[in-house]
């Protein structure tokens, strides 16, 4: 009986010292967790690569886009397009059609191209869907929640400038982003201009 209690006592003391030693964790610092950012996760798999013929057509179209648009289009005051930044694609020869749709009868028929500005012949939602083909809604929302509330009413191009090497809004400073929100939301007239542009 005596030795039983002795053993009991020793075990209890051992357990208690284990617990006291866990107090040493009281001052451990948490390691910062780094998140890897992936926005565009769609992998190009073999099935989605277009066949030779379709590719040939696209390359030809894209060449024709660049031929006209590398200079300033004085009639519509369209600035020369010198870069497509991150969307550059050598396979599609700079990839105009991926974002703006197939050339079709443009510029004779001006309503076939997706212009990514508010128009009265193509809804903003339809225009944005071209971007959403690759950039999924879930991923956009995870990266920046404001995508959810703007996807249907505001052109992606209102915040994103793709015809330059670096899109300024990517990883922008918080004060830059806040200014962007405020500038548009403060002035009800400005907001209207962005959503309902007269003509083209």
């Amino acid at each position: 009986m005596k030795s039983l209690f002795k053993a009991f006592g020793y075990i209890a003391i051992l357990l208690s010292s284990v617990f006291v030693s866990t107090l040493s964790f009281a001052d451990t610092q948490t390691a910062p967790v780094t998140e890897t950012e992936t926005l565009f996760t769609q992998e190009l798999d073999q099935a989605t690569l277009l066949d030779q013929a379709t590719m040939a057509v696209l390359v030809k179209e894209n060449t024709r886009c660049i031929r006209c648009h590398q200079k300033e289009r004085l009639l519509k005051q369209i600035k020369p397009i010198t870069s497509v930044g991150k969307h550059k694609s050598e396979a599609n020869l700079d990839n105009c059609t991926a974002c703006h749709g197939n050339k079709g009868d443009h510029p004779i028929d001006n309503q076939v191209i997706i212009s990514h500005v508010p128009t009265d012949y193509m809804t903003i939602e339809t225009q944005n869907e071209q971007c959403m083909d690759c950039h999924k809604a879930d991923e956009l929302a995870e990266k920046e929640w404001t995508h959810d509330v703007h996807e249907k009413d505001v052109n992606c191009s209102s915040c994103h400038s793709l015809h330059q090497e670096i899109d300024p809004i990517i990883n922008a400073e918080k004060s830059f982003r806040v200014k962007l929100c405020v500038d548009c939301h403060r002035d009800p007239q400005a907001k209207k201009k962005l959503i309902m542009k007269e003509g083209n």
Partner: protein
């Protein structure tokens, strides 16, 4: 009168004086001068777009160091992308009329400014015991890493209000979702809004008597 009775009376008398001063003192902490102002704020969640311009303006105006904030906008997502909606909740000092932080401060560093009804901190008196940070049920107080005193939103009492301007957050809001004013002034904007719209206050059941009113967001609710 024999000595036993004398002792009892003396004890009772002393006890009565101590109790009376205790009660009187307790009242002083919570009382606001009648002629003074009772500043309060409404956060209209139905107008708030979560741009956090208020957070930015506050930080700049009041020189809030990095790592701490006087004001936070808590975002709640309702639904799934791309049809999700968001509602926003402002987390900042409620400027309670029965503030826990003032009741617990051992040096009186946390106090109610009787002229304005604003709950503020005297950084010179503060020793950094963090009792008030623990006591605040809204968890809006923080230890300033530079001054080593406790700090929090003071309705820009020392910055904008001192120059007779509205607080920085109110000025910065693009949607006019923040309304600031004196509850004692019956003709103020805030009184008008409170009379027109139904408002709610956060954690009212704790008896803190907060002065931050909220107009509920009109986004559809979540059933969990």
């Amino acid at each position: 009168m024999d000595s036993a009775r004398r002792k009892v009376l003396l004890g009772l008398g002393t006890g009565a004086i101590i109790a009376a001063t205790g009660i009187a003192n307790a009242n002083i902490i919570g009382t606001v001068i009648i002629d003074g102002q009772r500043y309060a704020m409404i956060h209209d969640e139905s107008k708030c777009i979560g741009c956090e311009a208020c957070v930015d303006a506050c930080k700049e105006t009041n020189n809030v160091p990095d790592g701490v904030t006087r004001l936070e906008i808590i975002r709640t997502k309702v639904g799934d992308s791309p049809d999700a909606e968001y509602s926003f909740f402002r987390k900042s000092c409620q400027h309670c009329e029965s503030p826990s932080c003032v009741q617990v401060c051992p040096t009186g560093a946390s106090f109610i400014d009787t002229k304005t009804g604003i709950v503020d901190v005297n950084p010179d008196r503060c020793v950094g015991c963090l009792y008030c940070v623990a006591a605040c049920p809204y968890k809006v107080r923080y230890l300033d890493p530079v001054t080593k005193s406790v700090d929090k939103c003071d309705f820009c009492r020392k910055t904008k209000l001192a120059k007779n301007e509205l607080p920085a957050c109110v000025q910065a809001c693009p949607k006019d979702a923040l309304i600031f004013g004196d509850l004692n002034d019956m003709s103020s904007d805030i009184r008008a809004q409170l009379n027109q719209k139904p408002t709610y206050k956060y954690k009212e059941y704790l008896g803190t008597k907060p002065k931050m009113f909220r107009i509920a967001s009109n986004k559809r609710g979540v059933v969990s």
